[in-house]
Structures are given as C-alpha cells and as structure tokens.
Subunit: 180 residues, 2 copies
C-alpha cells in the first residue's frame, strides 16, 4: 500500500457511494480498491455495510451498480420465466433474451442444501453476456443450473411487456422455455 | 414407478399447491415426488412453473414452504445485517439469532462471477439450524461465506424490532456483527 492518502471508514464509504452514483457502468471491486487505496476485502466489507443500510447497491456479474429509482423505473415490466437447457446453451439463451432489449436480472436455482439460490447476474447486452460467459469459463465456475439438471428461473426486466413477450417466444421456439 | 395412478401435469401442480398450503412444516422434493408418484426432477420443474406464475413458494434449506400473506404478516420486522466469521462459527451464529426468536431468512454473499448470490435458508429454530448444518456437513457443501473470506449479509425477520435488536447485540458481543 503506497503512502498515498488512504480513505478511512465512513468517509471512504461515502466516497464509494458517490463514485457508484456517478458511474455510467458497473465498477468492479478491484477498481474501487485502487481508487480508495485499500484492499479488495475492505471494499467487500464496506459494500456489505452500505447494503445493511438498505443502500440500493447490487453486485452484478459485471461489478457494483447503484440501482437508483430512475434506473429501476426504466425497467417497468418484470416477469419470472422457467427454463431448461444444458450448460452449453447458456450463451445462446442469454443472447436470445438481450437481443429483444430485455435484461436478465437474475438466475434462480434450487440448491440441495441452501434451498433457493438467486444470483443477480444483471446482463442486458451482448457485450455483458460474453463478459459473463468468459468469466465463467476462465474461472471454471460451474453453471448454477447444473445443480438442478438444467432447470432454472430467470427474472426478466424491460421497458415494456411486449419485449418480454418477444423474448419468451424466441426461447419457446428454441425449446428452452418450460411451458405449462 | 409402480402402477399407482400417476398425477398428470396441471392437476399435479394444483395438488402440489394444496399439499404445500395444508402443510404445517416444509415438504421436501422427495416427499412430494413420492406423494405424486413421479420423479424428483418432475417436482423441481413443477415448482419452477408455479414460481413462474408468482405463486409464493420458496425452497428453503428444510424443503418447500408456501409463504402465504399470513405467514409473511407474522414476520413484520425485517433487517439486513453484515457479518464476518469463519465457517466453524456458522452454527454458533445461527443459534445466537434463533435463540432470540428471530428467523434467518437468507444469506447473501458476493460471488466473483455471478455477483450477489442469495440463499433462502429460512431457519428459525435450533432444530432447523442443526438440520441445516448436518446437511452441509453430510454433503460437503462449502459454506457460501467461504467465497468472500467470511463476509456475508443476513436478512433477519421477527414479529418485532426488539427481538432483532437483541439478536444484533448478541452477535456484536460475539464479535460476529460488522459495525459501522
């Protein structure tokens, strides 16, 4: 740690919040650690403290995002869908969805020990999809859906219901959507 | 599969919902599979379809639970807390909380690839805590908090704020609560 000024406690958390509010794209823990001149672990604890105060920060697969009311307002339509596919079709599935201008807010599976396990992946563009897939492949992380033989839920968000209808139709045609 | 009547599609889902609504305690996938005379995987898909219709079923660490309005009403107070401890203190932490009559609704950590990962463990008694810990040990599942060097969030629910205050005080005295 160089001798540059190290931001301390509450001031640091205020500054983190400011950076996140001003940023147009997600900020990773590493980027925030460098900016605040502290370790990545200190950032994880700081973000946890802010979340414990109900500050609307989410850790997405791309980094931390401040979800203010306006950002949430933009995504008025929301729908939960049930999907079934092998891990090799994850990228295809996500692309079918984002190509309709729809965001995949999360993926939910049933963990045999923990019960419902929800991951806030928050991918809405082809770039974010490929970044997410690359991260999975580079870290050898398992696809969560492998825990339940491919069955999983997604919460989809979009500016309107029509886009979600289109995404569901595309998934159905691809044999990915589980229908009643 | 014996030749007993196998419940089919939508009827089966209606029946699953009825069993869950009537049950005073969580029902496991295995129990529902036996009752409906189908495989466990069929039950996972059925529950996913019901969840996709916003039916308030959650998969907890103890099994499926139907969270009707009354059940949720009973738990009016809710608070997110930030905690830090090693995996060996998980049981102690959960006991400190449930001993105050407080329920641990979930555990949330930051997965390096998936972002926020939330597990609906839903433990509220010493019996449920020991069942959860036994399951982790018997399946060698890692504690989620091990992914973030012990830092994690819990959402606590209880009939009133006072019980949550007491639980937080106990956690603080044990050096588990991360404070501002």
């Amino acid at each position: 740690m160089t001798e540059e000024l190290k931001l301390m406690g509450a001031n640091r958390r205020d500054q983190l919040l400011l950076w996140l509010k001003e940023s147009k794209s997600p900020l990773t823990g590493g980027e925030l650690a460098k900016k605040a001149n502290v370790s990545r672990q200190v950032i994880v604890q700081d973000i946890s403290l802010l979340k414990a105060k109900n500050v609307p920060i989410i850790a997405t697969s791309q980094g931390y995002v401040y979800m203010d009311a306006a950002a949430q307002q933009h995504q008025q339509a929301e729908r939960i869908i049930a999907c079934l596919h092998g891990p090799e079709r994850t990228e295809e599935e996500l692309q079918l969805i984002v190509d309709e201008g729809v965001t995949v807010k999360d993926v939910k599976i049933e963990h045999p020990v923990y019960g419902d396990l929800t991951a806030a992946i928050q991918v809405g563009t082809r770039k974010e999809v490929s970044h997410f897939i690359k991260k999975i492949n580079s870290t050898n992380a398992a696809y969560l859906s492998q825990l339940t033989d491919g069955v999983h839920l997604h919460t989809l968000t979009a500016p309107d219901e029509h886009r979600i209808d289109q995404a569901c139709q595309a998934l159905e045609e691809a044999g990915i959507l589980i229908k009643d």
